[in-house]
Symmetry: D2
């Protein structure tokens, strides 16, 4: 269990989380840090505007950053696979180039909705990873691309999965998303002080489309989209980390609140069974206090990998309503990538 | 057009807004400032922890505060009617006592759901004011109580009213409410910094119940509740003033976005027809920018009396979704009281 | 009293304030809006990311933006003088080009410390405006450049001026500066949430150098720098507008607190005598409450043109200490420019 | 090395930190949790409005809270000494009652300035602990009271101590203090949003008086106050934890910046020599980046026990200026108490 990895887009907000989370990883070792031309050639500590609370690990700060192309990365080291935290605007072709040779675990949105690309949440749809076999065959690649969903989608989908046993029909979700979701420099302080921004470009579409694929069924070599109606309204609030979502769902069978709670509590997936290093003991944690979950208090549950659910109650319009909270740069980004790669590694896909 | 008023609860957050808005009012003049025993006897400037941006008007700062009981108020001056900004916990019996003699326009929740008490939004249900005749008769009072809805309800109801022509069936609303809604001292700063509070005691019930009464039909001497299903999820965010709400509605007839927009734009009510002093030219203003309304930028539209609507779009689950924003201590509180009293005055109810 | 003006850098944060403040100005009329190439050719409403609370005046939104060079401006209209809100990095040569023909009132730092350029605060050193005669002569220009000091310097200097009668020797100042001082997009929200930034590039040097020139004496054709020692420590805090400064001063004659208060209260300057349109009645306002001035509550005193002083008390190390607050984008920027131009206009310098 | 402790005022903000820090302490074990009558009788988890990020340890949440008097505490368990996090308003007599029998390590201000009471910072004035012998004798007590300074004083004094070798004469300090310093509920959110509060009751006096005692010399049975002039201006800013201070000092010998840096870096005290469990490796850490220390990024250095210093530079008025940052509820409160008790324990005072 010993793999060497490259991080593409290592200097950005998500890239920094990858660096932080990989530092003491039992299986994966950072071999190459890659970013844009602007950063290439500099030591990571200089190239990167480090925004996390804990200092850059010293040995990482001195690693040189290389350009995010295959040649430069191969020159810098031998890697077994690649994490991509590239901006979605440039990720498309770069990831394809790497995928000819390497497994690529991508946080970018570029390839998420392609038919032969898994959109993976290891607890929710681990079987979708099988798609990479078809992908490799169809595209004639030695590697492949596996993608992680958008941050606000991941936490929603994790809570929807255990509700599918009750016949999930409709989902309405209103989000209050953290500043770190916009990267760095991201949202100007003058825009958010004493304010809420009621719009995040592309976010509502991502939730509405990605969720259907994630909850869909792998049928032969295709995913049949889930037969669910979803509507989202997305907002940016003055919170550093942790997306909070108000969820209203219609369930065909009308379970009691207690049944729903049990379904959330008992929900475990492959990562828990396989004891993957980044898997939280509980993918979903329930808070019983009337005023929880709260971003600042609850975002670090399960080292940022648990989704915290609270205020499960009957809904006068649909069936039930609840709130869910997830750490957007851990479970919603770098941690998601790690868990996907761990699943792939354990299952022999690397 | 010249009336003298007393403000009960004059030192609190809503009371201060009453003072501010009444200062240069063309019809109403502050005659008595009343509050709790703790404040009674002190000049208003000392009794009150003034939290608004503009200074307390000098002549008001020197007015003595009296205890909020009928005797003390009558001793302090001759008043024609009363605004109540009392805390709901004490408002009940005090307002009844005053209503034996005076019209009482109340911001407190104590009497809102009583059958013979109007829950008034002058643009939405001005005819409900007729209830006070029944109330006076039934209770044998010379005065009466008219109430204003909860702040988050008012702005929602104003936007729902013009949608009723399309056959309004279901409403799901998720709110992001301002700190000033909790009064002063209200929310501790340690609770809200880098955080959202996903619960406001009693707020969801108020939205779900009050809206049905407001949109209900006066039928003889009773209000028939509107036949609508409503669900709310209420949150407190780090914003000073201005509640923002994500609204999802089901409409029987499926109007186009343009028809909905027209309905909002054309919506006018009695206050506009009667040219009441506090009536905004447009009860509903539409913002076309993709990222509006925003609390800090838009809360003062129509001097804080307009509801600002934006992002009207098709809803994949119900029919349409949109956002609405209102100034919670003006349109949602003191301004609501003024407009109700102006309607009553103009219509001969004072 | 009727002049036409061009605003250079009209789309930036300070440029927007110029637009807002000039809108209903009794003497000055906006004739040309100029900005960088990127904006040139677009209507102002499109070119500009408007960040102020009140909407862009409609007639201004439709004005075309032209490139900030003399030819383009002259082609767009006949102007009598120019306000420059250009970024300091480009202001230098552009302002010089305009000054060959026009009076230029500049907010940029480029020319502030040049010997023949006034660094003007109309209440403090109106006589320094005489320098422009020397400047015109020496440089062979028809116009000239007059500059306004840095925002944090202006408010400090206004409070120091009346203290000079007591023999001002030493000044130590620690600032807590607002986000708008960094322009837009300026400070990233992730940098300032739950945080203070203890450094603002160049700010301490500006306070320490500019103050000596402002408080200096015009002696023939030169300014003799004030014989004062000044030290500054500058911080950025999570406040939208309004710089707050803790000031500690040593005064040769040891005045009583009352004498200092009187000196502040009685301080008036040329703008007050000449009744300039932007002149506040009181350049310095004193707050007696123990916990004032506060940025949000006090920044709009005198329409943002008064400096609010509070907590004047004896200092155990030097002589006295106090706090001062000024609106950094009004008195500290666009309002400063207006007042300077008004002084120049009234005195026959335009 | 095994002592049982009671925490007085265990439910407040500082009390909670004591609980958190004591949880896995190698020497001290929480035996009794005491608070006001209001809390007495309830399990800690119910009595306490827990505001820290990590959950209340389960076994602690179920411990009963007893009233903060000697009898109740003794009935609840055998304790070796007592931590007091009582509000200063009630701490005085309660602590004296306990001190008749037990060593009391107090965070309250009540006894700080009494002649025979140590005002202890273990790195700075460990020898002052000797005062408790005199105290016990004079007061006829079996126990004693040892106090910790005010939070903003502690961090300042730690940085001043190594400067005394250069002949420290004058200190001017301007603070930007965190919300948690005001306890819970503390500062209302409406007071601090988009704002700074330029006043903290009693804070400036505490800095100006306490520092002289801390840096004073124990001379026989008395402390000779340090011969230093100190002036403070204290502000509350919108930061959760971490006080930031701008410090300007006059030093008789004029050391170079490098010498000052060395003095800070080399500073170690008794806690480091004795390897006390809560002692940070470096009491003072230096940040070389131009924009540090920052509260959110640096407050947890040394597990919240290091003082972070930055921007050491020459001062044009006095000698040098710098910034220092400390975690106000760890090094400034509960951590200070622990370190004091550890010193006392190790030195045989318990």
């Amino acid at each position: 269990m010993d793999w060497k990895v490259a991080i593409l887009g290592a200097t950005g907000a998500v890239g920094q989380r990858f660096v932080q989370l990989l530092r003491n990883h039992p299986w994966f070792k950072i071999e190459v840090l890659a970013a844009s031309e602007k950063s290439a050639g500099k030591p990571y500590g200089k190239a990167c505007d480090w925004i996390l609370e804990h200092e850059i690990p010293h040995e990482i700060a001195e690693m040189p950053v290389v350009n995010a192309d295959v040649k430069s990365v191969e020159k810098a080291g031998n890697v077994d696979f690649v994490f991509s935290a590239l901006p979605s605007s440039v990720a498309g072709p770069v990831e394809e180039e790497f995928a000819k040779t390497y497994p690529v675990f991508s946080k970018a949105s570029a390839h998420r909705l392609e038919e032969d690309v898994p959109l993976l949440i290891p607890e929710v749809n681990p079987e979708h990873l099988e798609l990479v076999k078809i992908q490799k065959e169809q595209r004639g690649w030695n590697g492949y691309i596996s993608t992680d969903p958008n941050c606000s989608t991941i936490q929603l989908a994790i809570t929807l999965k255990p509700l599918m046993q009750f016949g999930l029909k409709k989902v309405i979700v209103s989000t209050m998303q953290a500043l770190s979701g916009a990267g760095f420099p991201g949202v100007p302080s003058l825009s958010i002080i004493d304010n809420v921004l009621p719009y995040i470009a592309g976010e509502e579409e991502k939730i509405e489309q990605e969720t259907l694929k994630i909850l869909g069924e792998l049928n032969g070599d295709k995913i049949r989209l889930a037969n669910i109606q979803i509507s989202a309204s997305c907002n940016r609030v003055n919170v550093k980390d942790g997306h909070l979502e108000c969820v209203f769902v219609e369930l065909e069978r009308k379970p009691s609140i207690e049944e729903v709670k049990e379904a959330f509590k008992n929900f475990k997936g492959e990562p828990q069974k396989l004891k993957l290093p980044s898997a939280p003991e509980n993918p979903i944690m329930i808070k019983e206090e009337v005023d929880r979950p709260q971003p600042r208090l609850d975002r670090n549950e399960g080292k940022g990998m648990s989704i915290v659910v609270g205020r499960i109650r009957e809904d006068p319009v649909l069936t039930i309503k609840y709130l869910c909270l997830g750490h957007n740069t851990i479970r919603g980004a770098a941690g998601a990538g790690l868990l996907s790669a761990e699943l792939a590694a354990k299952k022999g896909f690397i």
